[in-house]
Amino acid sequence: MNVDIHKTAPQLAPPLALPTTSQTIPQPVPRGADGEQPVFAVHDLNMHYGKNLALKDVTMDIRPRRITAIIGPSGCGKSTLIRCFNRMNELIPSARVSGEVLYHGENIYAPGVDPVVVRRHIGMVFQRPNPFPKSIYENVAFGAKINGYKGDMDELVERSLRRAALWDEVKNQLKKSALDLSGGQQQRLCIARAIAVEPDVILMDEPASALDPIATVRIEDLMQELKQDYSIVIVTHNMQQAARVSDETAFLYTEVDEATSARWGILVEFGETSQIFTRPRDKRTEDYVSGRFG
């Protein structure tokens, strides 16, 4: 069923429209079994909002159990790109995607793939903490409940909250409204909520940009913890944060068509974080990471 069409290096593989026969998302590859198979292989991803091109020809590999940072100036399509990884873009009616996003070798945009199933495996944490107006317990249990979790719910809630380094702060007030927590606690609650459904990948869209420096450090420490088990993709406009936390970095930049003043994002450079920040190959990357613009 699951034909691995992605054995060769993605940059070399021509982006042919390979037929995807399988109708279901395969279970995540057992951790450690085949460490270097990419979690996501993106081929020539183009993204439109209505008639406007938002992302052009993005090709990249996301490796498992690493933190991949997406950096770039405002409006270059960082959030758009990360939302392509779990098909959240489809909630915007005019959004249109072409190209492939292979998740463990299978195109998540193939016909017959249910976005709900995709999102079940690929969790997401948003820029602004967005807990439900329910109790702390209900927030964490939400995903498990709707996905028909049969195990011990109390245990799952505790485990997820511990994982998100929030348990000690809230263990005596699980019935309290999640909206009573501070911003940083709310964001960790959102992370706990995301990992409660035991996803394979966690996407984070500027998870710390609404938080103070102390809460930010806690989130960053948490990410280091989580990458033992999860593949993490993080969008950030904070270059220091990308340099601190990530293993690999993708630099996106805005291209402008002078004639029509249309703007879209392109992937300029993608590589090891240390390489991107110390020996960038592209002039634009160098200018950006050295703070010359953006």
Partner: protein, 323 residues
């Protein structure tokens, strides 16, 4: 530190030369701060102060004017209704003659409870589902636009037309009865529920929906577990508005429930009384006893609507986790 040294002391205005007093008396009305002018001496332009006072007065006046009729109605109903309102009034039916004293509107109370209850049972779930369709599924398609348009039209239709419609469609064939009355009330309630629920659903922040979808929730799960609970307090308010409106409707019931002085709980086959009908009955006749009962009935109706509104508020505030 250097900038502070340049500033004159705030109270020692005399030392600053007038030419330095920048805006004062210049292009700006009122007295503005300038070096040497204390903020305490600055006043907004007299014209603006006057306008502010005038508008504030007008607003307060408008509020008072709106409250006067409400207060008068409440006073009138309470003072006149309380004279006849007693245990007997609440627990017995209308006497056979409007001239006779005693008796009460129990028949009307039961009839109103049955008809408003049935109409609520049907119109609230349907109305909420309709609103969910409008906001979450239909968005801007032609069906949604059609539903929205007709809901607006239906809200404005005089209720007697609804009564006439149910009369020709149902009553002519099946006779007067509680079911026919409930049908007409349902038609009146439905658009109110749809439109008020729609407004509430629109207010649910899309961040919450995103959070739900990102956890692998299907659309129906998101609607049931996130969107509707978040909007519940607002929806309850809209539903109460519809219930209050239905409880007070008289015109459509004249043509569907007809009214009866007998105590009955039959759903069809027999005319049934409703509180507004009983009030109408007593009020339009010249007999003191009947009129007194009408006043007490009005008070009863008022209290029922009040109690239900308060109950709904309490339930709604409980269902939402306190911030």
């Amino acid at each position: 530190m250097s900038w502070a040294e340049d500033l004159p002391p705030l109270d020692g205005g005399a030392s600053a030369p007038d030419t330095q007093a920048g805006h004062a008396g210049g292009r700006w009305s009122g007295r503005c701060w300038a070096p040497g002018v204390s903020l305490r001496d600055c006043r907004p332009a007299r014209r603006r102060v006057w306008r502010n006072r005038r508008n504030a007065t007008l607003i307060v006046l408008a509020v008072v004017l709106t409250l006067i009729p409400v207060a008068m109605i409440l006073y009138q109903i309470t003072s006149k209704g309380i004279q006849t309102m007693d245990w007997e009034f609440l627990t017995s039916s209308q006497p056979f003659s409007l001239r006779r004293t005693g008796g009460g509107f129990l028949n009307g109370l039961i009839g109103t409870a049955i008809m408003v209850g049935l109409a609520t049972l049907v119109s609230v779930p349907l109305g909420i589902l309709g609103a969910v369709y409008l906001v979450e599924y239909g968005k801007g398609n032609w069906l949604a636009k059609l539903i929205r348009f007709f809901s607006d039209v239906m809200t404005g239709v005089p209720s007697i037309f609804v009564g006439l419609f149910v009369y020709t469609a149902l009553v002519v064939q099946f006779g007067f009865g509680a079911l026919m009355g409930a049908a007409s009330l349902m038609i009146i309630m439905m658009p109110i529920v749809v439109r008020s629920t729609e407004e509430m659903l629109k207010l649910v922040p899309h961040e919450l929906k995103d959070a739900s979808y990102a956890l692998g929730a299907a659309k129906w799960q998101t609607v049931l577990r996130v969107i509707l609970p978040s909007a519940a307090p607002g929806i309850t308010t809209g539903v109460m508005l519809a219930v209050a409106r239905a409880a007070g409707e008289t015109a459509p019931l004249l043509l569907t429930a007809l009214g009866s002085i007998q105590l009955t709980a039959k759903l069809w086959g027999a005319p049934i009384q409703a509180l507004p009908l009983a009030i109408f009955d007593g009020a339009r006749n010249p007999f003191a006893a009947g009129q007194a009962r009408a006043w007490a009935g009005a008070l009863e109706l008022l209290l029922i609507v009040l109690v239900f509104t308060i109950m709904a508020r309490v339930v709604a505030s409980r269902s939402r986790i306190s911030r």
